[in-house]
Symmetry: none
Subunit: 420 residues, 2 copies
Amino acid sequence: MKISTLSIGDEVIFGEIVDTNVAHISSRLYDAGFQLRRHLCVGDNEPDIMDAIELLASHNDFVIATGGLGPTIDDLTARAAARATGRRLVLNEDALTHLKERYRLMGREMLPSTEKQALLPTKISLVPNPIGTACGFIIPHKGCFLFFLPGVPMEMKRMLEETVIPFIQSRIKQKTTIETRVMRVLGLSETHIENRIKELARPREGLTIAYCVSFPEVEVKLRAEGENEAQLKDLLDTTAAKVREHLGEHVVAEGGETIDSVVAALFRKKGVTLSLAESCTGGLIAAKITDLAGSSAYFLEGAVTYSNESKIRRLQVPAELLEKEGAVSSATAMAMARGIRKASGSDIALAVTGIAGPEGGSEEKPVGTVYLALAGRSDCTAKRYQFSWDRERVRSMTTYTALDWLRRHLMALPDGETED
Amino acid sequence: MKISTLSIGDEVIFGEIVDTNVAHISSRLYDAGFQLRRHLCVGDNEPDIMDAIELLASHNDFVIATGGLGPTIDDLTARAAARATGRRLVLNEDALTHLKERYRLMGREMLPSTEKQALLPTKISLVPNPIGTACGFIIPHKGCFLFFLPGVPMEMKRMLEETVIPFIQSRIKQKTTIETRVMRVLGLSETHIENRIKELARPREGLTIAYCVSFPEVEVKLRAEGENEAQLKDLLDTTAAKVREHLGEHVVAEGGETIDSVVAALFRKKGVTLSLAESCTGGLIAAKITDLAGSSAYFLEGAVTYSNESKIRRLQVPAELLEKEGAVSSATAMAMARGIRKASGSDIALAVTGIAGPEGGSEEKPVGTVYLALAGRSDCTAKRYQFSWDRERVRSMTTYTALDWLRRHLMALPDGETED
């Protein structure tokens, strides 16, 4: 059973918009147990649209096309679809009635040129559009069903759910179900991860593992295909447990969770409060912590102390220390963490100082040198990291590494207690 | 001259990620005067990749393929490219040297299986990857040049700029030149912008205008096509001046500039220093300011004061004021701005407090209510805004609005002087 998609529109082919429709369609098909085979995209150009329709119709059972159904002169999909499948264009009375009704509902005058949206190929079934003017349509052609939907994401999504997916489901006998699980891994390369867990995959038994870099994390995707949903869930549970065994604490989040949401849940559960002092990340860690609503329950305060003066004044880092050890040093990181913890009264404090680049590196401390420090009520630890990318990725890697340290620290704490 | 793109990857075909690469490539090609013909996307499946390569090679002069060059077992592009073009896979010594050097720079151990990334087809030219492990490569095949690049957007972009576009430009005789100019507009909708400036377009004379929403900004793209480069530049200069006339201060940046870089340049030029106090944006404004290297020259300090306690302790916001006016009020925003300005000794200070949602709104102050305040040495102003989106967009809109206020404020100051 082969399904492919076709996006039609100059705005996509000229790079004016990112085509999110294909990701939505393929993701919904995948959830429904189908796999997209190919995606093709062409501009608002009649011969190109016709070529694409012919190519896809001859290799697929279903083709879902989006775009080019609007009222303006550059919307050519209906005409191209008619010509590619040997049909005529006629004024479709049902589509026209729908069009008039939509305009009435919007309280807008319908210009005569708008009738073009009801000029559709002969021998089709309409796909109702409950929230827009352009109806979609289905053309059966050479053993393939061609769906044509508007490109407006909101309208396309409704029509996909209400008509297209049920139509496909009703026409094929699905033998198997698909269950998936995503595990987010930090601090191991794609290759290292694969080497540790590839043996867990059992393609013949319907269990596959895919890897996807989402910097600085790697997503490990478990996918199980079979007949019995409960069995598949069991299989994923067992496999996920083995993945955790092999990758250990590098698995930072699972399912719909992210490292931020995991850290947030830990802060709540442990009843610990946090403050932050950031130099090279310039507020990124605080921004990530406050990304989630309700973070004020545990996040007391952040200080962005980019200059030496602000480190001295705001965090009471001794000027002599900065002079002797340098702003980028473990001693400074620890003094920053202690300073913000004391000032804010938080249970723990995390500080970061480093050289994000492109300037400021030295032989001893090249660009990408970062110190993190974590201070509790009575102890303080610093770690040195060496990251080797550009400014943007050094900052992003530092942010995730900081969140991960918080996660590991909180996981080792007994529930509901601070480290006092 | 026909150019098409090919995205390879299960993550794209399964809808796990939105493929932004094609939008970037087509947009950059468009800027360089070329138009993308077709875009095709297939999964990590060798026969499908081979089919796609054969199909595109036989209909195009250039094909830019992305994805599937990673080190893991599901990365099949190099093998499929070799088979589709009748080549063998061999260990490419140059690619291997590059790979070893990258691992050395990262300070990571290179596993033997990583060498797979240097297993490339015979008879190719390498495409250097200055920021990642996987080299790209170029295969000349049946009169078509096939480019293979990694799918990691940052790496792909560098390789596109540095190798692919210059390669294409060197191999075709362009009859006309194309000049483009991007103007970034804040605070006006796409429709409003179009209504104000659409008459400036002169398609018959080669001048077109395109609009692209890049939340919260709208990009206005001027494109001039003709034979004489100097004339085109003049035409763009004149048109850009008219656009500025019609859109006024809503044009926040032009050319390669962004609102951050414009604000950074103004701070340097005016010799003014800044401090920030952020509540609902939680560090996002500071992160944006420190995105650019060298920001320590004018950015003295940021305070992320999410809780009432931290506003009182850190910024000396009077507890009675918070009690009486509320944390989200113009009085609190002004007290925050004055507090951080005094503490940091900066020339100006910007503060933000608001309700990003989804909780915390009231009838009087619904979700999306945001107060910004700007304090100078002797004066302080607050403004209330009502944004109406989700948490993420309220925070993003607030960040841009804050940067825009700094921009407008600094533009009104005489050069090299603070407002004392």
